[in-house]
Amino acid sequence: MVEILVYGTVQSAGLLLMTFGFSLVYGISRLPNFAHGALFVFTGYAAWLLRNEARLPYWLAAALALLAAGLLGVLIYQLVLKRIRGMEMSEVIATYAIGLLILESLRWRGLRGTTFTLPVLAPGAVNLLGVPIDYQRIAVVLLGFGIVGALWILTKTTRLGLALRGVAQDEQAAMLLGIDTDLVATVAVGLGSVLAGAGALILFPLGSIVVQSGYQVLVWAIAVCVVGGLGSWAGTVVACLLLGFAQHLTAAYGKPHYQMVVMLLAIIVTLVIKPSGLLGRQKELEERV
């Protein structure tokens, strides 16, 4: 019982790390960044390359990889998304294509098999309430909820946060008040990419860097968005907790194969019972149904 509680929390925090960037970007600038999963894998692989081939110390490699992810996000916005802003269908297709371009190029570049691993932050394990758990998983929980908390404080207290929220509420009104909405969207996409990268650096040490996780992250990000309700921070966190525990239970008592089924069922059940998501509001309801 305690084990379910502990590892379910770990799974939920991992899910939060994977998906938060996506829901942040969509919540702020209404840009569906389908390249999110690709950025996730890209950062992990970049960190691996910098550490193992350029022989940089790990903290420097990680920082550079995060920077690269942020820059890539900014580039995607400036070169591609800016030109097709507002055409929802093109946004989806273009970002999805960019994501595939990144992922398949990485696969071609040699990202195959299970040889690519990142080091853990701190080796070793500890007994928590009678359940053995390693330090890395504790770090996942602390950082997962920590990053979300930090961002929450950022958007509530700083000028930038105010601008982000203003654009999220009403882009034209924000523009009228002198907020450079293009700049804000760029910042949002860059921030989302860095978040995807941070998630990758924290989560990849638990397994190995594989291209497949890029697709998985994208699918899970959408599942969390649909279940939680968009633009709602609490909704995202609650959805991560729900789906995280659901995932852990299916993996523990069924086959890991069923995780995808659980996600799809969660989406369908949410749509049938409460289409706006757990904590979504009326505005989002109009947009999706």
Partner: protein, 337 residues
């Protein structure tokens, strides 16, 4: 003030004259109207001739047409019904497995298994995606993205339908000529049929749902039922493509749900011209041979398609067919201001 110019476009006289019934009075104008259609139909019907030259070219042409069916299905869903489906491979795979199942487990001959698989597969796809139909925009896109992944996982997990091996030894067509013309005639019939359907009343409702579903609801027409019909039609195209492929190569496996098959039709649609229905066909006739040239690069093929897709959507989003149609119908001149 030299140096300031703008491009002026005027409809060609012949285009204007051939718009009304009086087109019938002049052979030249009939020819103007008929030329693109004759070119398309004649070109497709002549495709099997390429096969006499080299069997390989014939196979490539047939797989281009299979992709064209998927692309037309995508175009119809995305640009006429407003449902962007990123999981076209789901239709394809379900159709392929349906054909294999009917042929191998029930022993139906090819001419029964193929049409039955298309209809049965379309029913299965429609039922499977039906709960997600109220979704719009990116939500629908990503939920459909999950379906092919889900199908692969389910087949692996339950080890049904041949498991990871799939089905082998599905009975093919009795003759090669028949094989080619079944596909060509059905592609043409599907293309022109769909165009006519979209111009009639039911098609009008489908397009209205895309533009403003609240207004359709206010007019007393059920939006979800309308989308269900749309989805059925689109999956009919996709499932037929899959079923045909299964009979053509005699095998179907979980690679029928591969990502390539979802992406390639989208790329073909965007390159050929979204919302034209002919565009996807022309786009796949261009992209599939290109993909064959890149075969030796293996996995990089998907990346190349993705790159083409991104560049075209950003820089030339109108696509090939609308561009050609404009050149055909209008005269452009530069005018000094």
């Amino acid at each position: 003030m030299s140096g300031i110019r703008r491009r002026k476009r005027i409809d060609r006289g012949i285009k204007v004259r051939s718009e009304s019934i009086y087109v019938l009075t002049s052979l030249r104008e009939i020819g103007y109207l008929a030329a693109p259609r004759v070119l398309l139909v004649g070109g497709l019907l002549a495709l099997p001739l390429a096969r006499q030259g080299s069997p390989y070219a014939g196979k490539v042409a047939l797989s281009a047409l299979i992709v064209a069916l998927l692309a037309i299905s995508f175009d119809f869903l995305a640009n006429f019904a407003g449902l962007v489906c990123l999981g076209g491979a789901f239709f394809y795979g379900v159709g392929g497995y349906a054909a294999a199942f009917l042929n191998e487990e029930l022993g139906l001959p090819c001419y029964l298994a193929l049409p039955l698989a298309a209809v049965l597969g379309a029913l299965i796809c429609t039922l499977a995606i039906w709960p997600c139909l109220p979704l719009r925009g990116i939500y629908f896109a990503v939920v459909t993205l999950m379906y092919p992944l889900l199908a692969t996982r389910l087949i692996e997990a339950f080890d049904v339908l041949g498991g990871t091996e799939g089905y082998m030894g599905i009975i093919g067509f009795p003759s090669e000529t028949l094989e080619a013309y079944v596909l060509i005639v059905l592609v043409l019939a599907g293309l022109f049929g769909l165009r006519r359907f979209l111009a009639e009343d039911p098609g009008l409702v489908i397009r209205a749902v895309k533009d403003n579903d609240q207004a359709v609801k206010a007019a007393g027409i059920g939006v979800t039922w309308c989308r269900t019909k749309t989805l059925f039609i689109a999956s009919l195209f996709g499932c037929f493509a899959g079923a045909y492929y299964a009979h053509l190569y005699g095998a179907v496996g979980i690679s029928a749900f591969a990502l390539d098959l979802s992406l390639l039709p989208i790329a073909a649609t965007v390159v050929g011209g979204s919302g034209t229905l002919v565009g996807p066909l022309v786009g796949s006739l261009l992209l599939v041979p290109l993909g064959e040239l890149l075969r030796e690069f293996g996995g990089l093929r998907t990346a190349v398609y993705a790159a083409i897709l991104t560049v075209v959507i950003v820089l030339r989003s109108e696509g090939l067919i609308p561009f050609l149609a404009r050149k055909y119908a209008q005269r452009e001149t530069w005018v000094e201001l």
